[in-house]
Symmetry: D2
Subunit: 290 residues, 4 copies
């Protein structure tokens, strides 16, 4: 994570125009949001600042709100990529939405068209909280919403998107928690001690493929030196941890257990997921721990 | 399994030529083996009959024994398929050795050439006891043997191959156990009862692909009505059982656990592998049971 | 269990007076129950015969029914023991109700007096389905019932008591299941095989003491040759199984685990309780299995 | 723990007689030990200071060493209590050796006599590292030692005893770790979260009785606010943790599991023992964790 660029105390003391300029990137193409928030200063916390901006959107008149929603880029739309703000580009790029296959591009295009035809604004989702599979699943579910519910949902997603942006821009007390954490712990229950030296790999399990996200080796306490994922929202989706237990027990290729796959879903991007493994060469237990 | 075609008591009482004709298929292109065994009748058990035939091979002179080994077909050799006895054809076909890709065919061809150049007879292995991956692993390992060790190994494999054939041909007391068994049992430890209605799939995990071997749904006792594999030797290799736990707990797609994969190796083709799952929506335990 | 003394087919064919004589012991001091049931013959199953006798009690007039309830012995009443039928004596003796300490005798006496004062008949419970602790707990709970609910409860207990007696007296098709079963299974998950030679002890855990009920050693399959309890109703109560795991792992006195106690309650006297242990020298898992 | 009374830096700078006076209590009735250590100053760590004192004992001549051993009090000897230094009195009192029953007193007396007859000095053991049962077991084992082995063993115990005393007297860098720790963690694997509000009790399991050592209730993370034992050496012996799981699952008295006892041995007084429980109303797993 790069350091936030502004101190909340400086923003509280700045001129209105400097305040608006500083936060311009947070709400795309809508400087009026920062303008409205400028009047409510000073803010005691970063969360209060963000809340004020979200409230400005909610309180704006219907026409402006709709124009605001329409100002968002369409998901996976390569042809319109030039219009994205830097922030949108980075977010969608992180998910690989700028590297879609022709087939995936077509699927997104069809969904985008159906969605815009039904609701009159583009599909908005906080992509940094989702895997590609989760986005598609949400897309297909939300197409069944009625207009009012979907309007609310779009605003809620904007709150999530801009919360991440405000947190990245502004430093100060009361920053909302936006990062999740995935950790593990391997115990050798045949020997009654932490399992040191177990190689493990973390994959995202997608509809079409699996992607390697992280690799690590357990230390003397049976843990990894750093969390397997952290510092960002965890993407909602399905994951698989593979533990090279056979090699640890010096039985690779010969024993009953070799690579132990543990597959699980993440549903809370800001949560702490602890997924331990208690193993012998012949058995194991895994669970969501704490 | 089809019924054996001969009763041991009938073979004990038959003329020598009828005896030899009956058992011709057991030792490929080597009627002298049955001829030697005919003299030792009566045999109290099917195992004793088979032992006598194996002993006949071992006691034959070196030249005949080598000719006997050379009479075996090469593994995965499409061009020589016409030479296979019906039994060899069925055994290699079951493994898909008659459906090799060009690349796999080349790999087998290179191994066959290297093996024959070193040992002077074709690579012999009881294919019905191995997955394709296990055959390749054995092939590469056995190429490092010295001539004496490998000669012993080839005879041991012939004993395994012909044991299966004799057991298929002859009925009577004392049949050697040649079939393994894979079973499972799913317990819902959140509710303290067997988990009924869990869909499960068994895959073979190969170097290049995974093949679906069986599917079943657990019954009121949390077991499958029939073993997942039985009636044959289990093929040495790596397997994965997938339990649709998320659907059972009515949380598919939303819960922490959805498909639970349990990956394990089978090393004893004639063994009983019991692989139970004790599960809640948030945890599970698996082990080699009995 | 001793063999039942009468065949249902013989009872169906017997004279009414022989029928009544045969079943006299089932309903204490109430030959009229068997007399009523004699008229309904033939009975296709033992269960149908017993149902008919219970129905005869339910259909009798209020005075007779009350007299019938009053004919039952008081629990733990040493002074009236001479009045018990042989069956009542054996049932109460099995529980140790004839070996009460002075304090326990006083407690039962007080409960008996309070109960009789409130309901006008003695407390009736199928003692063979309860530990002493469970009887006391039930006694104290049932004292809070209103008269109608407790009258129903007393009849339900009589049905349970007499079902056991009829099953002991009469052989034939359709015998109700009256016996429960407690079994175990010990797996050595460090070695991936059944744990053979584990000594285990079963205790009843009572308010004041613990009583040893059974001892066994696991066989080659990690099970005991016979169930730990069977052939009778399991007594509702709290139990503790102790597994001598330390000795099995040759670490008695030195290891982390030595005697592993597993404490559990039995609530279904006719149920099957399977309580396995999956153990290493450093860990174990236990659960209600099947 | 009370604060140590002297700073190592002060002791390094003190006059020899002040140094000796400060440390007099560490080695009972043997001021010559501190005198020898005074000459080796300055000591960089508390551990180095203690090592120097132990070395002084080892290097002293045989007669003095024997006199030193003989200066130690006999275990459990009420009649000689007046001779104990304050430190010895506190240590033996903590174990209840000053509250022995007549029978226990006799047993210790017989052991003391046998030991002194064989070895010529009293039985010395670091009582703060042992339960009473562990002391008796050690006593009976050590009686079988030969003189040389037992002499070494007595000196090793003196090093352990005096290490605790020096650590209590002197503050400074490099204090040896003398305290162990027992912790637990309860997870509700039916709900996939820490089990908050589980009452638990820790008992010492002795030959004749069980003593309650600690009680606690789990917090929001499923842990206890403080370790169950800490700040002192853990006493070698057998313990039982009882978890009130039935009450937590709102099934006390009715469910399959109510009080879950976990019995384990502690063998490393300075170690960290983590004993978690993963529980549902019907199953649990426990293990030595980290």
């Amino acid at each position: 994570m790069t350091a936030a660029r502004f101190a909340l105390s400086d923003l509280n003391a700045a001129s209105a125009s400097d305040f608006v300029a500083a936060l311009a990137e947070a709400f795309e193409h809508a400087p009026w949001v920062a303008e409205a928030a400028a009047a409510g200063r000073p803010y005691p916390t970063v969360a209060a600042l963000h809340d004020a901006m979200v409230t400005a959107v909610r309180r704006s008149d219907a026409e402006r709100r709709l124009a605001f929603l329409r100002g968002h880029p369409e998901l996976g739309s390569r042809v319109r990529r030039a219009d994205l703000t830097g922030a949108s580009q980075a977010e969608q790029g992180g998910l690989g939405l700028d590297r879609l296959s022709a087939e995936e591009f077509d699927r997104f295009t069809r969904l985008n068209e159906a969605y815009r035809a039904k609701f009159g604004f583009p599909f908005i989702i906080c992509v940094r909280r989702h895997t590609r599979d989760s986005i598609l699943r949400n897309y297909e579910r939300r197409l069944h919403n009625d207009a009012a519910a979907e309007f609310e949902r779009a605003l809620a997603e904007i709150a999530l998107i801009t919360r991440l942006r405000v947190v990245a821009l502004v430093d100060g007390p009361g920053k909302p928690a936006t990062a999740g954490r995935l950790t593990t712990h391997v115990l050798d229950t045949a020997a009654g001690r932490p399992a040191q030296g177990v190689a493990l790999s973390l994959y995202e399990i997608g509809g079409s493929a699996r992607g390697l996200l992280a690799q690590a080796v357990t230390n003397a306490d049976g843990r990894t030196d750093a969390p397997l994922m952290s510092g960002e929202p965890l993407r909602i989706g399905t994951y698989e941890l593979q533990f090279a237990i056979g090699h640890y027990f010096a039985r690779a290729g010969d024993g009953f257990l070799d690579l132990v796959p543990v597959r699980f879903a993440i549903a809370e991007p800001e949560g702490h997921y602890h997924v331990p493994l208690l193993a012998t060469p012949w058995s194991y237990t895994t669970y969501r721990g704490s």
